[in-house]
Structures are given as C-alpha cells and as structure tokens.
C-alpha cells in the first residue's frame, strides 16, 4: 500500500517536473518572440523614417518625392491590421524609385545623398533579416503550443496565438547588391 503511494508520488513529481520544464521553454519562446517583434518594429520604423527624410530632403525629383513620402507616411500611420499591406506598399514604392542603378548614382552625387543612400541601403537590408528572425521565432512557438501537453494543461495561459508577419520585403535591386536574399 505504502509502496504504491510512493510510486504514485514519484510519478506525479516527474510529470510536474516535465510540465514545469515545458512551461519554462514556452516562456522563453514567448520572450524571444517579443524581442524579435520589437526588433522588427524598430527596423520597419527606421526604414520609413529614412525614406521620409529622403523624400523631404530635396535630393529626389518632385514626383519620386511625393510617391515615397506618401507610402512612408502611410506605413508609419497604419493600424495594426493594415500594417503588412502598408509596409509592402512602401517596399514597392522604394523598388519603383530605386529600380535603376542610374537613379541611385544620381542621388549619391547630390550633397548628402551618399549618406542618405547608405542609410536606406542598410534599412532595406535589415527589414528582411528582422522579419525572418521574427517569423522563425513565431514558428518555433507555434510548434510547441500545438503540442498535446501544452494544450491539455493550458501551459500557454492567455497569451495570444503567435502570428507571423507577412509582407513583401524585397529590397530594390540597385540598393542591395547581395546574393541569395
């Protein structure tokens, strides 16, 4: 009798240990996802700001300036549900304006243009990076959250189900002279 009770206690302890460990894993994944989301937000905001700065600095022709200003403004002001669309439109606008190497070279020759293009090139390069890291974290968290144990014991609590950030982040060819990204 006593022996059975001891065995039951040991089993319960083992299950508890496993659950505590899994909850720890889940907690770590959630904080990784939050950090990745914050980094993605920062990169998107940075890209929009650099674009807006470029549009208002007068280094571009008026038509290009208006196109870039409009889409950068829309991306910064977008509501959460509209964000993916607005950011994708900013990518498309950047591609339209900086599609040609000649355009980039022309901007570089204007005073201040060199620095502006360098900043923009860094920004359009980092957005896809941050987005991949974010979606990778989301995938890992989703994989664990759909696990039986996690669902059965409601280890995730009330945390919202993680969603990937889907957008078109293809950088303009003339600004991103890199392979394989």
């Amino acid at each position: 009798m006593i022996e059975t009770l001891i065995w039951i206690a040991v089993a319960l302890f083992a299950v508890g240990l496993y659950l505590s460990w899994t909850a720890g894993r889940l907690d770590r994944l959630h904080s990784r996802m939050d950090a990745a989301r914050a980094a993605l937000d920062a990169q998107l905001l940075r890209r929009a700001s650099v674009t807006q700065e470029l549009a208002t600095s007068g280094v571009l022709d008026p038509a290009a300036s208006i196109v870039l200003y409009e889409s950068a403004h829309a991306a910064r002001q977008a509501e959460e549900e509209q964000r993916e669309v607005a950011e994708s439109e900013l990518s498309a606008a950047l591609r339209a304006v900086f599609g040609e190497t000649a355009q980039v070279e022309a901007v570089k020759e204007i005073p201040g243009g060199q620095e502006a293009t360098r900043e923009l090139a860094a920004a359009v390069r980092r957005v896809p990076m941050a987005r991949r890291f974010h979606n990778d974290a989301v995938r890992a968290a989703r994989a664990l959250r759909t696990h039986r144990t996690v669902r059965l014991f409601r280890l995730a609590g009330h945390a919202p189900f993680p969603l990937a950030f889907e957008m078109d982040d293809e950088p303009p060819v003339a600004l991103a002279d890199r392979p394989g990204t």
Binding site: W21, G24, L29, A35, A39, M129, F133, D136, R139, P179
Partner: protein, 387 residues
C-alpha cells in the same frame, strides 16, 4: 559590442569553419569590438590572444568519419564559466547541431544567440533520433544564418523555420594584390585541394586531362594539396605524367600567387560542398574559373555569369570546356573582369557589415547573454546559490 564566438572544431586542425571564425574575429577586432572565441584546443597549441581553450577535443566516430568533439561534464562547466566571465552582448555559435561546444553553449546560455549553419548534410539518422533533444536547445537561437541558399534550403527542410543567407567572407584585396609567379604562368591549369579525397574531384580532372593535352599539348596542370602524388597520376598515360606538377601544401601567400598566375582554375568537386570558398578566392585573384555545376558553386558563380560551369562528374564536358577556355583569351579576360566585380560582395567589408547587422538586430532591446540558470535542477527549486 562584446561578442562571444563558439567554434565547435579543434583549433589545432585547420579547416574551413576555423578559418572563417579566425577571419571574422580579426575583422570584428579591427572594427573596435571586443571578441572572445571559445574553441577546443590542445594545451600546448599557441593560441591567438582572443581564443579561450575549452580543453582537448576527443576523437569520436561521428557521421561517417572521425570528428574531434568536445562534450561531457567538464566541457559544459568551461562553457558556463566562459559565458559568466564574458558578459557578452551576443554570442555567435557555429555549427550548433554538431554534438560539441556549439550545442553545449546553446544549452547553457540565455540571451541573444546567433547561429551559423555551415554544412548542408543530408538528413542523418542520428539527427532524426536526436531531434527531440536538439529542439529545446535550438529554439533558443534568435537568429539563424546559412552560408548559402543551398545550406538554407537544407536547414529549412530539416529543422523548419527560416534563416538569412550571409556568405563566407574573403579578404579580396589579399588575393587581388598577390604577385604572379612567372614559373606558374603560360598555359597553366590550377587545382587546389586534398589529392586523396575523391569528392574534391581530382580523379575527374585526371580523366579529362588526356583530351585537354591532345588539344593543347603545352598545357601544364599545377596541383596544390596534400596526398599521394604517385597514386593521383596512376590513371594517366606514362608520357603525360610530366605535364602534372605537384606543389604539395602551399602557404596562404603561395596560394594567392598560384591563383594569380594560372590561366584557368578548375574546381571539379563532386559533392558535399555547401559554399565553395576556394572559388571566391580564385575570383578575387582574377583567375578565370571552371567549376562543376553543384548548387553551391552555381550560386557563387552567379549561375555561370562569373565563371564557367560543366556537368558534374562528366570528364568529357570538363575537357571540352577547359579547351574552349584555354583557346579563347577574350573569354578569359571577360571572365576575369566579371569575376572581379562579382566577388566584391564576398569581401569582409560587406560580409562583416551584414553579420554586425544581424548582431544589432537581435540585441535591439534584448538583455545581455548570461548562463541559463534554468538548466540546473537545483535552480528550478530555488536552491542554487545566487552570486
């Protein structure tokens, strides 16, 4: 930025991953960052000041060959101490799936972790069996980097998720500045790599050589690399063996001079390559490149725009392509020019900036790296001593 880099393979044994880490560390230090590299090494090996030894690596049969790995209680303790003393902003683990320091560090650390996947091994039995064990450690990695689109594809297939592609770096200037050696010039073909390792492709080149010599008898083949020279030329007719010169192991300087001197550099590798750093070095030196059409090689050569490709393991195709190149100086000049322009994206100035961008992306708003207290059983019950 304080950066900790983890090398899974023994520092005493030269290898692609080790060289990559050495050059990366040098580059980052020149940029003014604080770098510490944790690597397995013998106690007697002289180490650069930034390398911390994690003890001697043990030779273990793993994945079909003997690998020198670090594992066990003692190594884990050294990893923890390194993490604790280093107070890094970010740690960069190389090859986190090999059962060595990389995996141990993943297990023991928390905070921003960047991981680079170098190889693109086909899915092995051990990996499938180890998946449930690996997963909790691998999911701590905040940013994954693959060295080529090919490596990224294998990574996504095997482990899921996604990775950014950052190629291996090369000091383009070092190869571009090297002085050509007159002895190695004039109708020469270059090959660099282990002679006795069939997947480096020397047998394919030897099979193609008679046809190349028949069309262009003045051609010489220069081979640099370790291995049995007699055995390598055994398949050649007696009279042709004199056209092959073996240079043995060459220094970095001689490698650069050799690549600057040859008329065509041939990379007949038959498989197992995930990047192809030697092609980038050849392009940096301005050598016209002819390579087998492996996925990784085709990508480095911009699908054939920066160098010629031939059907893998096809000696006749190799011979035909080599003869065509040797006979056409204009085409070689064109390849030199396009190759030199294309290779700039592999220079450390570009690659290093990309890697730093990854570091900055993951450290944005994240706390610094620390030893993960959760992994200790005592810590879970609040019994571990706090310091």
């Amino acid at each position: 930025m304080k950066i900790g880099i983890v090398c899974p393979y023994s520092w005493d044994v030269p290898g692609g991953v080790q060289f990559h880490i050495r050059d990366l560390a040098d580059h980052l230090i020149r940029q003014g960052h604080h770098v510490s590299v944790l690597a397995p090494a013998d106690d007697e090996t002289p180490l650069p000041p930034y390398v911390v030894s994690a003890g001697r690596a043990v030779p273990v049969p793993y994945n079909g060959s003997v690998a020198r790995l670090n594992f066990g209680f003692l190594s884990a303790a050294r990893v923890r101490r390194w993490l604790h003393d280093g107070t890094f902003d970010v740690i960069h683990i190389h090859e986190p799936t090999s059962p060595s320091l990389g995996l141990l560090t993943c297990w023991a650390a928390r905070g921003p972790i960047v991981a680079t996947f170098h190889t693109s091994n086909p899915r092995s039995r051990a990996m499938i069996a180890a998946y449930p064990i690996l997963q909790p450690a691998l999911e701590k990695i905040s940013a994954r980097v693959a060295v080529s689109e090919y490596a990224r594809r294998t990574l996504v297939e095997h482990l899921g998720g996604d990775a950014v592609v950052i190629p291996n770096g090369v000091d383009v200037g070092f190869f571009a500045r090297a002085e050509p050696n007159a002895e190695w010039q004039g109708g020469t073909i270059g090959f660099i790599g282990r002679i006795d390792e069939p997947r480096k492709g020397l047998p394919v080149l030897m099979k193609a050589l008679p046809a190349i010599l028949a069309a262009r008898p003045e051609t010489r083949l220069l081979v640099a690399g370790r291995g049995d020279e007699e055995e390598a030329v055994a398949s050649l007719p007696e009279g042709m063996r004199g056209r092959v010169e073996f240079l043995g192991m060459v220094s970095d300087e001689d490698k650069a001079r050799l690549l600057r001197s040859v008329d065509v550099y041939i990379a007949p590798n038959t498989g197992g390559e995930s990047f192809g750093i030697i092609l980038v070095e050849a392009l940096s030196a301005g050598a016209p490149v002819l390579a087998s059409d492996l996925d990784a090689f085709a990508q480095v050569l911009d699908q054939g725009a920066a160098g010629d490709l031939f059907a893998n393991e096809d000696a006749d195709a190799l011979a035909a392509a080599a003869v065509r190149l040797l006979a056409d100086p204009d085409r070689r000049a064109g390849l030199r020019e396009r190759g030199s322009a294309h290779v700039r994206r592999f220079d450390w100035s570009t690659v290093g900036a990309d890697i730093l961008a990854v570091y900055e992306t993951v450290t944005d708003g994240a706390a610094a790296v620390d030893a993960d207290e959760r992994t200790g059983l005592r810590a879970r019950f609040g019994l571990a001593a706090r310091d």
